[in-house]
């Protein structure tokens, strides 16, 4: 195609997109394929947003984002993890973690720089690295290690061109989490090789066992970590498009430069809603987390009992069961499941080759849907024998 840039020709549209097109043709489906909360944004947040519109908050904001929001984020990070970021110059409000990821990569990657990405991993990482001109270098995490990246796997991929590593715990698509002591070992490698760590902690609040460790709270990592987080998952605010990036002043200043010219600022309406969310959501957050945890217990037991072996995910809202016993590729399994039982899941290979042989089943659905989905799966698996 003559008008398309070479760079874009080098990236493929996501496997999820492909599956989405298939799903479109099927009526009455139920879905465990949705990567966002089933809860609607808590009413007090929606209400605060309406009020901000009534008062006429409709302008641009500072390129960095509304100062009050940045201050609240600084307070939260200090309170939750003991990390200090200056709201003036070390915190940037982005249009979702999606933009934050793009900004940090574009601000730091030179041609031929390599970025290590553990897989199965979130679908956007590889394309974003390529768009920034870098080289994605993937590592295959394994189910027998609960899909955690190991120091050995990481070290084995480090070359003189390695610039950064992207971490995402709790993880999409596996639900895997990493303990502080395990992350510490990765931090040591990063310090030794002078790597930048890009830590996408968007599911941090959805941690069901143990406590979440913020990567930048680890010894020596504050200045070598870009912390990405946002409102989408924990506050059920995916459609509002608010995220934030925190880190070293110099990197943030350069990310802001790109943001200023390409995004200008995040929508003020959504920023006002995020202010309310960070101020007054402890209760609604707790309720949602409790409910996800109940569903997590239900789905993990349910999947294992019908022969879809599934390790226990400790975070996010995903399970990643193995279909090794059924002699079908992930896509075949998912397509047949869709056609025969009208149940949508995401084939694991959409998240990298390491996801082949698995499915991603999200439990951000009501318990009724969950139970119905499990019985459809059981019927389907029963027929496969």
């Amino acid at each position: 195609m003559k008008h398309i840039s070479n760079r874009v020709q080098n990236i493929h549209s996501s496997g999820i997109r492909k599956f989405f097109d298939l799903v479109l043709g099927v009526e009455d489906i139920i879905s465990l394929g949705v990567g966002e909360p089933d809860f609607v944004t808590p009413w007090h947040i929606r209400e605060a947003c309406i009020y901000s519109l009534e008062r006429g908050y409709t302008s641009y904001t500072s390129n960095w984002g509304v100062l009050e929001l940045r201050e609240l984020i600084a307070d939260k990070l200090r309170g939750d993890y003991g990390v200090e970021y200056d709201p003036e110059g070390e915190i940037l409000i982005t249009t979702g973690v999606s933009e934050g990821m793009d900004l940090v990569l574009r601000a730091t990657i030179n041609p031929s720089d390599e970025v290590i990405i553990p897989e199965p991993g979130y679908v956007a990482y590889k394309p974003c690295v390529i768009l920034a001109g870098g080289m994605p270098v993937t590592i295959d995490t394994r189910i027998d290690n609960d899909f955690k990246a190991t120091p050995e796997e990481i070290t084995s991929k480090i070359t003189e061109n390695t610039k950064a590593i992207i971490l995402n715990y709790p993880n999409n698509p596996t639900g895997s989490t990493m303990k502080g002591s395990e992350l510490e070992e990765i931090a040591d490698i990063a310090v030794e090789h002078d790597l930048l760590v890009i830590s996408d902690e968007i599911y941090a609040k959805l941690t069901y066992e143990g406590t979440h460790t913020c990567f930048s709270s680890l010894n020596g990592m504050r200045n070598n970590t870009i912390l990405l987080n946002g409102m989408s998952k924990a506050y059920a605010m995916t459609g509002w498009r608010i995220g934030y990036a925190c880190g070293n002043r110099e990197i943030l200043e350069n990310m802001m430069k790109i943001h200023q010219y390409t995004m200008l600022c995040s929508p003020i309406t959504a920023q006002m809603a995020a202010v309310e969310a960070l101020r007054n959501s402890d209760d609604s957050l707790r309720k949602m987390v409790t409910e996800y945890n109940r569903r997590r217990n239900l789905i993990v037991k349910g999947l294992n009992s019908i022969g879809l072996h599934c390790f226990e995910p400790k975070g996010a809202f995903y399970t990643f069961p193995s279909i090794a016993d059924f002699n079908l590729k992930s896509e075949e399994f998912a397509e047949r499941l869709l056609r025969e039982e009208m149940l949508a899941v995401v084939p694991g290979n959409a998240f990298g080759n390491a996801g082949e042989g698995y499915l991603r089943c999200a439990y951000a659905v009501s318990r009724e849907v969950l139970n119905e989905a499990l019985s459809r799966l059981e019927r389907f698996v029963g027929r496969l024998g």
Partner: protein
């Protein structure tokens, strides 16, 4: 008795009375036997009063009329609020009775088949009680939320069926 597990059981049941002990067990990790025992205990203790269904009668095509009554009562040496409140509570037409702070004493909700029904019940059975000094009746015109459930509106699932 007020430990976290007990509270969790009650919260789950308050939301869905039909859920089975087996399911609660799967969701919470508490063994099924313990769930059943705990529920039994809560029932015997009266912490669980009853398992009921929230019905939108209007949707079912059955008409009911509700009235909210503010009651002022006279107390004497022998009778405090409890005796009059309990007396009013005995009528099956009465849905709820609360002692409240403010301009009146008891807040009563009455349910009946027609406006006439409800009005005559109040006039004949409530206003005539010796301890009742004054009543103000508000007929309910439309109900929006009951038992924590919105009656006329459900948030549709607007999400894409498959997403990253």
């Amino acid at each position: 008795m007020k430990d976290d597990k007990t509270i969790e059981m009650l919260q789950i049941l308050e939301e869905d009375a039909r859920i089975t002990p087996a399911e609660i067990s799967k969701m919470t990790g508490v063994p099924e036997k313990n769930v059943s025992e705990l529920i039994g205990k809560l029932e015997r203790k009266g912490a669980i009063i009853k398992y009921k269904t929230v019905v939108d009668w209007e949707k079912a095509g059955v008409e009911y009329i509700y009235a909210l009554i503010d009651l002022k009562v006279n107390l004497d040496r022998d009778n405090g609020y409890d005796s009059i409140a309990e007396r009013i509570s005995m009528f099956p037409e009465v849905e709820s009775v609360r002692l409240v702070s403010g301009n009146y004493d008891l807040a009563v909700i009455v349910k009946g088949k027609s406006m006439k029904d409800v009005a005559s019940f109040i006039a004949e059975k409530i206003s005539t009680l010796e301890q009742v000094r004054d009543t103000v009746t508000h007929f309910s015109l439309k109900m929006y939320k009951r038992e924590g459930e919105m009656l006329h509106k459900k948030d549709a699932d607007r999400r894409l069926a498959v997403s990253a």
